[in-house]
């Protein structure tokens, strides 16, 4: 019998990761709770003046989403690294970049998607303008996969370190700046009624760039960390 086709292996690994998350359910709620918690801090800190909150809502939501995504990055490879199945994946008959893409997709479904569902509710809480909430949804939809893809490179580089967490944020946050800039300004522009297709196109460009380049970087970083 010959080996599975690439897409079969991709789907198989994706399904395996999702079943793994379902088996220990608690784990994937953390990024979501962190997201909500950080956002509730801002009104407490800045005061509940509706205009002010609505004005800074895009920035707060996106910074909180970015931090929540970054905190959850570690779970992409951590459990596989500890029980040795990451080694077996590196030695599989399929190109590692595709397997990495499967794992990152699983991570996005588990962390990016809940943010996507939660964001409009929180936007409502912060009194964000109606028309901006549609754009908010699109920016989170396009932006969070990029966060997971770029983040996976950072995780792969720091997987072998004892205290990798701090270094991970130092490596990854500067690379998140372009996504943050265009996402937050898209929502800001939309709430002021401007045309925001330029920002959305930029986010799409980042997504395709990350989709095509980061799996290879992550794969070689993993191979290097495990050597």
């Amino acid at each position: 019998m010959n080996r599975l086709s690439l897409t079969q292996a991709f789907i198989f690994l994706l399904r395996r990761d999702l079943t793994l998350v379902l088996r220990n359910r608690g784990e994937f709620a953390n990024p979501l709770l962190f997201f909500i918690l950080v956002i509730t801090l801002f009104p407490l800190a800045i005061g509940a003046i509706p205009e002010l909150l609505a004005r800074i809502a895009p920035g707060i939501i996106w910074v909180a989403a970015l931090l929540a995504a970054m905190l959850s990055l570690d779970s992409i490879f951590r459990s596989d690294f500890e029980d040795g199945s990451l080694e077996q994946l590196l030695l599989s008959a399929h190109p590692m970049a595709v397997l990495v893409l499967a794992k990152v997709c699983a991570h996005w479904l588990v962390t990016g998607l809940p943010l996507l569902i939660m964001a409009p509710i929180l936007a409502e809480m912060l009194g964000m303008a109606e028309e901006a909430q549609g754009i908010l949804f699109i920016t989170i939809l396009l932006g969070t996969p990029v966060l997971s893809l770029i983040g996976s490179i950072g995780v792969a580089l720091t997987i072998g370190l004892r205290k990798g967490g701090i270094i991970l944020s130092l490596l990854v946050l500067p690379l998140y700046v372009p996504v943050l800039i265009f996402a937050a300004s898209a929502i800001d522009g939309a709430s002021a009624g401007f045309e925001v297709t330029k920002q959305i196109n930029m986010l799409l460009a980042f997504l395709f760039l990350a989709l095509s380049l980061s799996p290879w970087a992550t794969a070689s970083a993993l191979r290097m960390s495990m050597s």
Binding site: I153, L157, T158, K163, I167, L170, L175, P178, I181, S185
Partner: protein
């Protein structure tokens, strides 16, 4: 050409060559620096708008150029490390990081010192300064990652990947920050680009830029020799070297 590239790659050979070059580079650097400073501080007339404070440009602009140049050199070394696994490229890559970080810090500090008299605040969210700040984080990421990994051969390969990912992101970050800056245009148009440059200002600027480049090669040779010795301390050529001292 490949033979030269390969020969230079052998550590003892580079160690000797670099050692011989350092005094000459020091001399060239001194000449360039002095002439640049003389040109910049004495010859160049004060700017009609900013008066004497613009003379900070002779440190700020060359440092900013160097901070970008060194990161690109690091990314190039990164490719050489990953493709040919050349030990020398690993050493050059990691020895360049602190130098690049220092130039970035210098560009930021002199930028803020230059901005203070003009806008009354130490920090202004200008496009170039913000990009420079993010570049500093990229450098600190490289240095942080290298220190965090014990096995230096693996560390340099990790840093090589990070440098390449970083260099791909630099134009993207720069473009995004420029675009962001044009979006949130402050009330006063922060015209931070160089004042109207004419020859008597341009020559010292180029001299300083050249001086910084020679300085980079000079310090790179110095710290590469130290790093090479540290990495090869158990090899035969280091033994003969230290015994023959």
């Amino acid at each position: 050409m490949f033979l030269w590239f390969h020969k230079l790659g052998s550590p003892p050979h580079f160690y000797r060559i670099a050692g011989r070059w350092i005094p000459w580079l020091l001399a060239i650097f001194a000449v360039l620096l002095l002439s640049g400073l003389y040109g910049g501080l004495f010859v160049a007339p004060p700017d009609y708008q900013q008066g004497e404070s613009y003379r900070i440009i002779f440190i700020h602009v060359p440092s900013a150029w160097m901070s970008l140049f060194i990161y690109v050199v690091m990314a190039f070394c990164g490719v050489v490390v990953l493709v040919w696994r050349m030990k020398l490229a690993e050493v050059v890559l990691i020895s360049s990081a602190p130098i690049g970080a220092s130039f970035t810090f210098l560009a930021l500090a002199t930028g803020s010192l230059w901005g203070k008299p003009m806008w009354g605040t130490w920090w202004v969210w200008d496009a170039r300064l913000t990009s420079e700040l993010i570049l500093l984080f990229l450098y600190l990421g490289v240095i942080g990652l290298h220190n965090a990994i014990d096995d230096k051969r693996i560390a340099s390969r990790a840093v090589a990947i990070l440098a390449i990912v970083g260099v791909v992101n630099i134009p993207i970050i720069h473009y995004s920050v420029e675009w962001w800056h044009s979006l949130h245009q402050g009330p006063t148009v922060t015209k931070f680009d160089k004042p109207s440059i004419h020859l008597s200002m341009l020559i010292p600027l180029l001299l300083m830029a050249l001086a910084f480049k020679v300085y980079y090669v000079l310090t790179l040779f110095q710290s590469s020799r130290a790093e090479l010795l540290k990495r090869e301390r158990n090899s035969k050529w280091v033994e003969e070297l230290s015994r023959g001292q």
